[in-house]
Each structure stands twice: as structure tokens, then as C-alpha cells.
Symmetry: C2
Amino acid sequence: MLGFLQRFFSKDKAFYQSIKNLLGFYPNNIVFYQKAFRHKSVATKDHDSNERLEYLGDAVFGAIIAHYLYQRFPYKDEGFLTQMRSKLVNRSHLNSLSRKMGLDNMIQYYNESASGYKSLHGDAFEALIGAIYLDKGFNFTQNFIINHIIKLHIDIDHFVNTEFDYKSKLLNWAQKEKKQLRFDTKEEVLKNNDRKFTVTLFINEKEISTGIDFSKKKAEQQAAQKAFSQFVQ
Amino acid sequence: MLGFLQRFFSKDKAFYQSIKNLLGFYPNNIVFYQKAFRHKSVATKDHDSNERLEYLGDAVFGAIIAHYLYQRFPYKDEGFLTQMRSKLVNRSHLNSLSRKMGLDNMIQYYNESASGYKSLHGDAFEALIGAIYLDKGFNFTQNFIINHIIKLHIDIDHFVNTEFDYKSKLLNWAQKEKKQLRFDTKEEVLKNNDRKFTVTLFINEKEISTGIDFSKKKAEQQAAQKAFSQFVQ
């Protein structure tokens, strides 16, 4: 009842309503949600931006996705689960989720420099998860993510079938940006006859990253992934 | 009542009791806990080892620690919180937590190859968190971690004051193992006059890892951390 009164006699009535329209529920404490949408470029005080909520939401979203995949794929090993989770929580997927959910219009940021904020949308998405978690608790957040995010916006089967191929993505990027890529592979035979591959990735002949694995392909992907998160994402 | 009957008339009565002695509560479903302590070296079937629980527990522990630090340090920024979390969840800290909690005696593994399992204890710790979470839910797990792990076994202030210095740890390791370390630093001046450092770490003149940052010290730590997790942890 108090919540009802607050909601309808508050100067923030419009904000309550827009959260309801966006997420399907009324918040208890709107301060969390207001903060979730406040990019640091418009925060007036320290700790008044969404950065701390983003840190929290990232961890909570990771745990909920981990559990969801654990249940959805009872016969898959932890390598598969870990890889699926990385695909779902990577920055470019979060940016796209944020847009699909329509968070764009809610985010407050300083316009002039917006083009420099590559992760503006994904960060706000994570901060919003942090806000829901603090406002409503873990179980509510888990239900919300499953019913309002995964079911509506994530095609899990698509992710199962798509290898997130960092090397190909990086090659596409390099072609577009007219950069030259080179993968250098060193192979080492270990005592037990396993072979270890060290792949070093150069962009325009500058060494960028290294991947090490018993499989050459995985070592390449590892090196490509590191470069991808630095340059493309 | 059913739980009580199961507990006292079950062939697993001793296991129920040992979980109670170890953790302070009786499990609802002991299957989760039995699996949590089963290293893959003794698992007879696929998915019968603790690896999937470890994947889940890692994510759940991460979220609970993230929230704990968020509340404990209301005026710290997300950089501080992220760094603190890394210190608490890194493999060597989890190995040590696992020993402090006395999980050693519970873990089942194939003895002959035990010296090769550097993360046996930390993995079982994470798997146990996954088991508690599946058995008892998030809120119970959160209370357990705060009251039975953090309060008893983690000196948070110690972690605040201790920089986790991977370079020093690696230098210590190298001296002990008689390995030769070399850090190669390349400096690049960017368009906006920022300087970017690329530090490449060699062990016995073999290139191992790379760190890139605007601070030379951070780039070194990054390279050292990658090597640390490969060789030392």
C-alpha cells in the first residue's frame, strides 16, 4: 500500500510508470533504477553513476546464466557450459540485448562523446540487473531473466550451433579496417609427447596477444579472442 | 520429517553426519555433496565428477562475493571492487580456503596422480558451493558463505592492504625453480599522447605471455598474472 501511494503521489510517477512499461513490474525503490541508467559522463558525484551496479549486475547475471545453462544442458560438460556462458555474457551480446529490450531511451549520457562509449548499452543492461537484484532479490531477478530476457530475446539454440569464432570475426574486422593480421605458431613437444602450441598474433606486424593450448586451433582462438576484446568489441 | 527419516535410516548416515560436522547443517539431498567431492580421476561415468558443479559454484560464489564487497565498501569504485573480488576468488586463495575448511579429507581422487592436480582443493570448494546452492537455494548459500566462510576464514582487511603482486610471486617461483625470467617492454605513444606499454614475459627465453596497459606496472602485472596461472597456481 505504501508502495502504491509512493508510486502515484511521487514526483517520480512518470519514472515508475516507464520502468513498469519497460520491465513489466513496479520497482520498490526507484533510486536503484535511476542510478542504473546514469552513465558516468552525466554523474555529478562520485559513486552516482551506474558503474558499481554494473560490477554487481555482471556477477549476478553470470550466476543466473550459469545455472540456467546447467539445467538446460544436463548432459553437457563444463567446457561446453563455460563456452556457452561466454557467448551469452560477452559485451557485444549484452549491447544487442540492451537494444532489443529498449533500454536505449532510458540511458542518460553526455551526448557529445557518446560515440566513444562502445559498451554504453551493455553496461546499462548489467547495471539494471544489479538494480533489480538489490531491489527485489535473487529469485525475482532469476525469474525475470529467464522469463523476460532469455525467453523473449535469446535464441539459445542459435548460440549452441554458432561457434563464436573469434579468428573469423577478427579477420573480417581486419579486412574492413585494412589491418594486416599474422598468426605465428610455435609448437613444442612435451615430455609426455603432448604437443603445446603457442600462437602469437600480430596486427600490422605489432605483437598483440598470445594463445597457448594443446590444440593449435584453440591457441589461435585464444589469441584472437584477446585481440578481439581489445580492438573490436 | 522425511529428511530426518532419510538421514537416520539411510546407508549414507555417516556421510550426512560428516557434512553436518563439516558445514554445520544437514543436506536435503546428499547426491549433490557426494558429487562435489568426486574428482574426475575417480568418476566412473561422464558427468559423474564435480566438474559441472565447479562451473556452477564458481559463478555463484563470484556473485555472492561481488554483493558482499558491494555492501562492505559503499564508497569504493568498481575498479577496487573488481580487484578485491579477483583476489578472493583466485585459485590459490580457493585452494587455501578449501584446506582451512577441512575439505581435504572429503575429496575423492586417484592418489597416484594427485601431485598433478594443482587445483584439486579449490575445484572441490567451488563444487561444494554449487552443491549447496542446488540443494538449499541462493539465500541459504549466501548466508553460509558470509557466516561460515568469510567471517571464519577470510581476513578482508588483509586483502585490502595487500596488493596481489603477481610479478613478485612469479619472481619467487622462478628463483625456487631455477628459471630465468625476462620482461620485455615496448612503449608506444598514441595520437592523444597517451602511452601504451606492451610487456612480453619470457621464461628461459621462451615467450610466455603479454600484458598491455597504459601503465607499465599494470602491463607487467598482467603478463605476470597470465604466466602465474599457467605455471604456479
